[in-house]
Structure formats: C-alpha cells, structure tokens
C-alpha cells in the first residue's frame, strides 16, 4: 500500500514542495530542507585508521596457517591448439603440492594470457617456478589481435564457431543524415579512436580458499560482489549456497573487473580441496592486464553537421571496437546532445585478446570523447561558442545549472579563440558532459543489531570497494540513532549477513542507504514502544539524540539508549531494512559537466593539464569528502585515459607488449592538474535518503574535455586517445 507525503526536492535555488507517493512501510523521505546533524557533513572514513597504519587486511594480506600459494600458467600464444601438457616435472619439484591442467589436449586457447594449468606450492617463489616447469606444446593457429585484421574478408576465425564481427544496430536512416548534412552550415568527417584500457586495480584479482569440511568452504575474495562469488563457487562445486562463505573486508579497487570468482578462484578452490589446505592465488600485474577484463577499444567514423544557429543537425557514426574474445562493444552515440538526424552503426569485432568486461561507465567515455571533440570541431568551423552550443542542444535542467557553475569557475570568458595562438606553449579550454541513470537495486538488505549494552552494529554482505560504503552506512545509521558514526560498528563484506548489491553500475550507496534507514527505523520503533511508557509520552513523540531517547517536545524527558534497549529484555534486537523501488522523483538522469584548461608544448607535443573543474550531482551527499573524492578520482581516471593509457598489441606475435606499469602508463602525482570538485546540492525525492549514483559518471567527460581544450589551444584536433606527444605532433603537422 502506498501513502502520500510531502517533501521538498530540486537543486539549490530551485527547490519546490511536492507530494510523493511512497510505500506504506517506508520512512518519510529526507527532503531538501531536512535538518541533518551527521549526513552531508565532513567525516573521516570508517576503517581509515586501519588503512593508514597498514593494519587493514585485504584479501592479498590473508595468510592462513598451512596455506599454499597458487600460480597459473598462461598461454603465451594468441591462438593455439594444445598438443600436449606434461605436469610431471612440476609435480616432482620439492614443495609443490598440486598441479592441475585447465585445458585438455586438442582444445584451443584463444588469447595470450588464457589459463592453461595451475600449481599450488609451499611458497610464492616455488609456485612461480613450478608453473614454468609445466611443459606445454602448442600448435599455433592464425590469430587476429587488431580490428583491422579481424575484419578482413579472409580473416582467420578468432573463436571457432563464432563470427568475428557482429552487430550493426541502425536506429536511424543514412538518407536523413545525408539531407541534414547538406543543410548544415558546417560539417566534418573524421575518425575518432580510443584505446583498450585495462582496469588496473592496485589490488590484483585473487582469492584465498579454505575448505572447512567436505561440503563447505570459506573464500576471502577481492571482489565487487560477495554474493555473486558465493553463488558461482556453490554452483561450480555443487555446494549449498549456505555452505559457502565469502569475505571481503578491505578491497583494493575493481572498477568493474571483479564481479565473479574468475577462473583463478575456481582453480584455487579445486587445489585447496585436492590438498586439504587453504590456497591463495593473487594474480600478478601481467596477468591482471592480460586476463581480467578491459574497456573495449573504439574506432568511430563520424560525419556531423551543425546549423548556423548552433543547432546540432546531423550525426552519423559508423563505429566498431574490440572486446577481445568475449564481452561486447557498444557506444551510446551521439552522447548527451540531441542531433536532429542520427544514424549509428555499431559492430563488435572479436580479436584474440583478453575479454573485455564492464569498466567504469562502459561505453560512455568512448562515446563522450568522439561526440565532444566532433562538436567542438563543428563549433570551430562554424565560429560558434562550444558552451553555448552545448547549452542549446542539451535540455537537461540540472546540467544547465552545471554549465553555468563550471563556466564561472574555469573562467570560460577568458577562453582564447581556437587556433589564434602562435607561441611555443599554448593554452586552451574545453568542456564535456556526462549522464548516468539513477541506478539502484531494490531488495538490498542490511541489518542493525542493537545490543543490550547499548552498542550498535550494521551487518550486510555488501562490500566496500574503496568508494566509502562503510562510511555511508555508518553516517546514515548515526543520523538515525543520534550517535557518533564511530559508535556504530560496520561489519560488511561477509555473506553470513543479509544480501546487498553487487557494486556495479554505481548502485551501492544508493541501494544500501535507504535500507539502513529502514533497519534503524524498525529497531527504533520497538525501542520507542518500550521507552514511551517510562517517559510518559507516545512512541511517535520520541526521537534519538546525543545517545539518548528523547521526548521531542520536552528534551528534559529522556533516557540513555542503553537503558532504552535494556527495556526490551534479551541480549540484542536485530532488525532488517530492505530497499524499496525508487518512487517517482525529480530527476531520472544523473548529470555532470567538466571544464578543462590545458597547456600544450608544440615543440614536444606534451600536454599539461592545468585545471579541471568537475561539477556533478549525486542527489543527497552523505559523506561530503567521500563524494568529492569520488569525483576527483573519476577525473583522474578519465585524465589518465585521455593522456596516457593504452594496451599495445603486437600484431604478429599476438600479444600485449606492455602488461606492466612501466609501459602501460597510468597518471601519477606529477601529472596532476588542480582539480576542483563541485557537488551540486540536491534532493531527488526518489527514495528516503534522496541519493543516487556517483561512482561512474565523473570518469566520463574528462578525456573529451581535455581533447576539446587541446583543440582550442593548437587549433588542430587530436582524434586518437591517448593524446601522447607523437599524436599531438602529428596533429600539429596536419
């Protein structure tokens, strides 16, 4: 049953009171004007003291008594048939406890880096050495590791039984685009390309698996989905889900690549069962680059046109990219802006390279880069202001405000005319936008345990992948109970507790936050019912404040929380909160706008980003520094994508030549511009906290904004990412 409540929603300066229909059992939503003591303020990260002192235990840090180290042997070849596998030499080595083949004679490997066999040994060193002692004979088969090779008519088949090229979506008609191009004041025809980017979480993929009996196991996993790992392990080993426990306390980043136990998890469990000892497999950096997922490349052949009044008139994009042996390529193109006539063709091209998987805002940065730079090329040709053109062709109310804020902060009015500079070092500005859904997972659960000594604990299987989930949960509960966040113990990342969402799609905080309020409310309801009599008030007149249960209208009447919970009798009270569906709210699309200022050295082709202003909205902000950090971090990942990162494949050998941090280049401290995160205040009225997604959007527009700034500085577009000196110099010569 639903009930109607009044709440205030909107963005700062544009707040209105509205009536929303919410589930009967939900608590009243916190409106824009909610008087919150804890939520929205600046707090330290929960568990941060363990991290900064090196005490936090990540999966990589779990060392169990008697534990063995696992190591996987991987194919050095992109496509080959296994002629033979001989495990005997590895098995004979001192300290080696298990050696298993992962593939049989006659089967094929489809990329360099595919697992072939695995060992478990008494030390990390022995395991690494033993894996190399496994003798494998390969019969090499023809491969394709580039789109160009894979798309040829006579190309070898990448994966037997599958087509190399799939897709061909056509939402529009090319004839319409042709017509629109003809009536445009300025047109461009250009090819934009983006590289394969690897997730490169600093904690590599890995597990520690311990069988607790013949039918039960515990798995410490560096994962974005404890429950997903549990389900897949249970299925693989025919165990009851109840008998598989997955633990992820601290976790060193995933960015989309850690949503399953992976082949390494399954083989670790297999070897743990075989040896009767716990087995730890943590991948090394090379394996991480080769075999754990990536963002597909894209090559986008664009034709676009703009009218003299700034109306974006025509967009044709013939796009393809490679997701490797698996996964899927696609781009939401054109991105953000409305073009009158659109035709997009998209093809996914299989290659003999590690499979892609979701990576922070899949498809968006690729689409954004091509769209934003193409729009700016049109603006430069038509003599139009890129900011005005965006404002004209983007109807999103929140982003409209974000354009204003960002333009002011970067000093857009000082932007030079594109191509007007002649000095050795030239400056430029650009902007780009992002969008995201208000994603959430209904049914996400958390439980609150109120102990009779007054202590409080929050429990869920949901994991904190570094985004600050523990902190978000603690702050919302602290708000509800009127206590300090540090008074609440956060025990999450353990499948013994209620099921939370997998951390993908920027859903974690916004799925869990409203559930926390519900769990707290359920506990408070029972406590208030008991305390009301003692305090001479009705239960609904009570509130929690400063560690006490207080009569709202008469604060002199109160009792400690410890006493109140004691009135219930028993050791503890446990109540669960479960996330409802979002209700109809104010804003269905998360917005974001970034402005970049750069300096380009035309002699060396070096790009120095000077400043990035990132204006983003995320509904209600729970922990302000944490939300800002998400934005800063997204910008940096986007900057790194725009300027440095690129998986380089050797066509003939069929392998990645830079699977390390020496040549796979990730932005470091010296490459940092000034970054100013701006969080647009708002309450979205869609759930009882008023929060939505923030994890992915900030990494989307950065590369595009930088590319537009480079165009502004040097008057030439750099149409391939990353914008390394070779490409900048080439653009300057064009």
């Amino acid at each position: 049953m639903a009930r109607k409540v009044k709440t205030k929603w909107g963005i700062e300066g544009q707040v209105k009171e509205v009536e929303v229909s919410i589930p009967d059992a939900d608590v009243d939503p916190w409106g824009m004007d909610a008087d919150l003591k804890v939520v929205g303020k600046r707090h330290r990260r929960v568990g941060g003291d363990l991290v900064v002192t090196g005490r936090a235990k990540y999966t990589f840090d779990i060392n169990l008594p008697g534990m063995l180290w696992g190591k996987i042997l991987r194919s050095p070849y992109a496509h080959a048939e296994i002629s033979s596998i001989d495990l005997s030499k590895a098995k004979a080595m001192a300290g080696v406890k298990a050696v298993v083949a992962r593939i049989r004679k006659g089967e094929h490997v489809h990329y360099a880096g595919q697992d072939v066999a695995a060992v478990a040994a008494e030390s990390e060193e022995i395991a690494a050495e033993a894996a190399r002692a496994i003798e494998v004979e390969y019969k090499r088969l023809p491969h394709c590791v580039t789109c160009e090779d894979s798309m040829k008519d006579d190309a070898p088949t990448v994966v037997e039984g599958d087509k190399n090229v799939t897709g061909g979506r056509r939402p529009g008609r090319e004839e319409d685009v042709e017509g629109a191009l003809k009536e445009s004041a300025a047109t461009i025809e250009a090819t934009y390309s983006t590289p394969v980017q690897t997730h490169s979480p600093l904690e590599s993929h890995g597990v520690v698996v311990r069988w607790d009996s013949d039918t039960s196991m515990t798995c410490w996993a560096s994962t974005q989905g404890t429950d997903a790992v549990r389900g897949q392990l249970a299925q693989a080993f025919k165990l009851k889900r109840a008998n598989v426990r997955v633990i992820t306390d601290f976790m060193g980043g995933g960015f989309g690549a850690k949503l399953s136990p992976g082949p390494f998890g399954l083989v670790a469990a297999e070897m743990a069962r075989e040896t009767g000892k716990p087995v730890k497999i943590m991948l090394d950096r090379e394996e991480e680059h080769l075999a754990t997922g990536n963002r597909p490349s894209s090559i986008q052949k664009v034709r676009a046109g703009i009218l003299a009044d700034g109306t974006l008139n025509a967009w044709s994009n013939e796009a393809h990219g490679t997701p490797g042996v698996g996964g899927f390529f696609g781009v939401p193109s054109p991105y953000i802006y409305k073009f009158k006539a659109v035709n997009v063709k998209s093809r996914s091209v299989r290659t003999n390279a590690g499979s892609s998987c979701a990576m922070r805002a899949p498809g968006h940065p690729e689409a954004s880069f091509a769209t934003e730079l193409a729009v700016d090329e049109l603006c430069a040709k038509a003599g139009l202001d890129p900011l005005e053109v965006r404002r004209k062709n983007d109807k999103h109310a929140v982003r409209q405000r974000e354009y204003e804020i960002g333009a002011e902060k970067i000093g857009w009015k000082h932007r030079p005319k594109t191509g007007s500079q002649t000095g050795r070092v030239r400056r430029g500005m650009g902007l780009a936008s992002s969008r995201w859904g208000t994603n959430h997972v209904p049914g996400s659960e958390v439980q609150v345990v109120a102990y009779n000594d007054g202590s409080l604990e929050l429990q869920s299987c949901v994991q904190d992948i570094g985004t600050g989930t523990k902190t978000v949960l603690a702050l919302i509960a602290a708000e509800e109970f009127g206590v300090k966040p540090s008074d609440i113990k956060i025990t999450i990342g353990d499948t013994n507790f209620p099921i939370g969402p997998m951390s993908g799609g920027s859903v974690t905080a916004s799925s869990m936050g409203p559930a926390v309020r519900l769990a707290c409310a359920a506990v408070k309801k029972e406590v208030f019912e008991q305390a009301a009599g003692e305090l001479g008030a009705k239960p609904e007149e009570l509130v929690c404040a400063d560690g006490r249960v207080v009569v709202a209208a008469d604060p002199t009447k109160s009792m400690t929380w410890k006493k109140a919970i004691g009135l219930l009798g028993g050791e503890r009270l446990t109540r669960t909160g479960k996330r409802f569906e979002d209700y109809k709210g104010f804003n269905d699309e998360v917005g974001g706008v970034q402005f970049a200022e750069v300096e380009v050295d035309t002699e060396t082709g070096e790009i120095r980003p000077l400043k990035i202003v990132a204006v983003h909205d995320c509904g209600r902000i729970v922990n302000r520094p944490g939300a800002e950090s998400q934005v800063i971090g997204g910008v940096i990942m986007g900057l790194s994508y725009g300027l440095f990162e690129e998986r380089r494949m050797d066509r003939q050998l069929g392998m990645m030549v830079n699977p390390d941090f020496l040549w796979y280049k990730i932005a470091g401290p010296m490459d940092m511009p000034e970054i100013e995160p701006v969080l647009l205040e708002m309450a979205n009225g869609k759930n009882n906290v008023g929060m939505y997604s923030l994890g992915e959007p900030p990494c989307i527009p950065t590369a595009g904004a930088l590319a537009c700034a480079v165009l502004n500085a040097i008057g030439k577009p750099v149409r391939s990412l990353p914008m390394t000196p070779d490409r900048v110099l080439e653009a300057l010569e064009s």
Partner: protein
C-alpha cells in the same frame, strides 16, 4: 625467479673471480634491473655475485684530477652531491630524472650504465630475439614506438641509461676490474656483439667512474609522455666551453634514440667557434636530428631530438627562455 646461490663479494677482484668461474653467473649491484629480468625469467642465473657489500666502491671523492664516483654510489647521491651539481650539472640533472625517488635511493651508477635494454621484446621470456641469441628482431616489424631512430638496422633498442650521455659529455673514464683496467666511456658502449650493449667481458666489474676536471657548463634535458615515473622518449646532454658567449668546445650526446648513447660531432662542429644564441641552438637541434632513420612508429622522436638538443644548449649556455 629460479633459485640461485649468492656470493657475497668483498672486493671487485673477488667478484670477477666468482663470476668468471661459472658460466651462468651474473653480477648484481642493487639488483633493480637484474631482479626485474629474473622475475620475468628472462635470465635465470645459477649464481648471483653480489657487489653491494663492497664498501670501497661507494661514494664520491673530489681530487685535483677531477671527481671519482664509486660504481655503487646511488643515483640519489649523484643527483644531490654539491660537486656534481656544481661542476657536472648535466650528470646531476640526468640522475635526477631516472625512474623514481625510491629507485634512485637503490640504483647505482654502475647498474645504470650496465642495465639491459627496456625493449619489450627483449623482456618477453617466450621469444628469443636477436639480442638473446635468436635470429629475429621483433621490434623492426613490430611495435617500435619507443625504439631507436638511429642505427636501426639490426637491433634498434633505445639505450636506457640516463647517465651515459652525460658521462660522455665529460669524457669520463671507467675503472674496471677484470679484462681491462680502464675504458673511456666513449669506447664503453658498443653493440658490436649484438647480445651486449658494452665492451665488458663476462665478469668484468666497473669499480668507479672518473670525471676529469672540466671547464664546460652543461645541461641535460629529456622529454617523456608522463611527468611522473617514465622513460625518456629522447634525451640530450650538452656541454659547452664558453669564452664569453663564444663556444670554444662543445659536446652533444643523445640518449634513448640509438642502441648506444649517440655523440653528434656534426652538431658540436656547428657550435664551436660561434656565439651561442637561441637561433644557433635551434639550428643545432635541427642538425642533431639529421640522418635519423626512424622505424614505422617512432618518427615523432626525430622532432623531439630537435627540442631536447635546443633546450639543453639553451640551458647549458645560460640563455634566457626555455
């Protein structure tokens, strides 16, 4: 990596002996490069001869004849030593740009000169390239974005040492234990034997580097993709002996563009006897890039040579501008 025995040498001579008596022995200073190769199973010596405990191979000593740098002196010490920064600026600057602060606290002068190529094909254990005794260079037909643009015919590695070009500017001499006593740094780097990058025989130990007294002012410049830890795309060390504004003697050496550090006598000739101006520096930069034979993916490096040479000259001459 594979297991090995570790010989704790207490003198260079002892190290030479312990290395030469075993075919699969390798010398190790800090080990920053050797461990990298061993972890990747590119090399798996049965014996590692450890130089790190040889105290007399450490430290920087100034004398009338010049400055002596023990081969085990760390790059951080070279970068921050007042005598080096004062008299041999290009060397201090080159040392400062190597790798990372942590690595510079470990990595040694000797190791920097003797480190193996960073060619990614060389570092692949599965393929035996020309340099590893095979028949094929994979870089020439492959991904050669970061490879050499001079002397690219056979094995176009880009020599990875930052110190080498600077030491060549100063005519440094290397004191050796083993098959020779002393080698001029100019004669040290060689790919005559394609499997090696210098003339040292198996087991030879560089004991120290001797920098003669110099009247040159100098500078080192490099370009990179990242400003944080990254390898130089191109580098140039320049030394100028100036009489007023006129260049009496010049030394121009390029790094990261050829299989060995590359001295450019034509550029030196262009500079000598002339007044050093921004325009001359520009001309010298262009001259330095002449004769390059870039590979399929690294033509951009030729342009970068112009930039680094020009900048190093401007800096060495103390001209205004960049």
């Amino acid at each position: 990596m594979k297991p090995f025995e570790l010989v704790q040498a207490t003198s260079a001579e002892e190290a030479v002996k312990a290395t030469t008596e075993v075919r699969d022995a390798k010398l190790k200073a800090a080990g920053v490069d050797l461990l990298d190769e061993m972890k990747a199973f590119v090399t798996s010596p049965g014996r590692v001869v450890n130089l790190l405990k040889i105290k007399e191979m450490r430290g920087i000593v100034a004398s009338k004849a010049g400055t002596e740098i023990g081969a085990l002196t760390t790059l951080a010490e070279v970068a921050s030593h007042a005598d080096i920064a004062g008299g041999y600026a290009a060397l201090a600057e080159a040392a400062r740009e190597v790798a990372t602060p942590e690595v510079r606290n470990m990595a040694t002068v000797g190791g920097n000169l003797c480190q193996r190529p960073r060619c990614w094909y060389y570092r692949l254990p599965v393929y035996t390239c020309l340099k590893k005794g095979g028949n094929t260079c994979y870089a020439i037909e492959g991904d050669n974005k970061y490879h050499a643009v001079f002397e690219t015919g056979k094995c176009p590695i880009a020599h990875p040492s930052n110190l080498a070009p600077a030491l060549m500017v100063f005519d440094a001499r290397l004191h050796i234990a083993g098959s020779a006593e002393e080698i001029a740094v100019a004669d040290f780097f060689s790919m005559k034997d394609i499997k090696r990058e210098n003339v040292l025989a198996h087991g030879d130990v560089i004991k120290k580097v001797v920098l003669p007294v110099t009247k040159m002012t100098s500078a080192y410049r490099e370009t990179r993709e990242k400003q944080s830890f990254d390898w130089a795309l191109t580098s140039a060390a320049v030394g100028l002996e100036l009489d007023g504004k006129t260049c009496k003697k010049a030394r121009v050496v390029l790094g990261a563009v050829a299989p060995v550090p590359l001295r450019r006598p034509e550029v030196e000739k262009l500079l000598e006897g002339k007044e050093v101006t921004a325009a001359l520096a520009e001309e010298a930069g262009a001259k330095a890039a002449e004769g390059a034979t870039p590979l399929s993916m690294n033509k951009y490096k030729v342009k970068l040579i112009k930039a680094v040479v020009r900048r190093a000259i401007v800096a060495a001459a103390g001209l205004k501008g960049d």
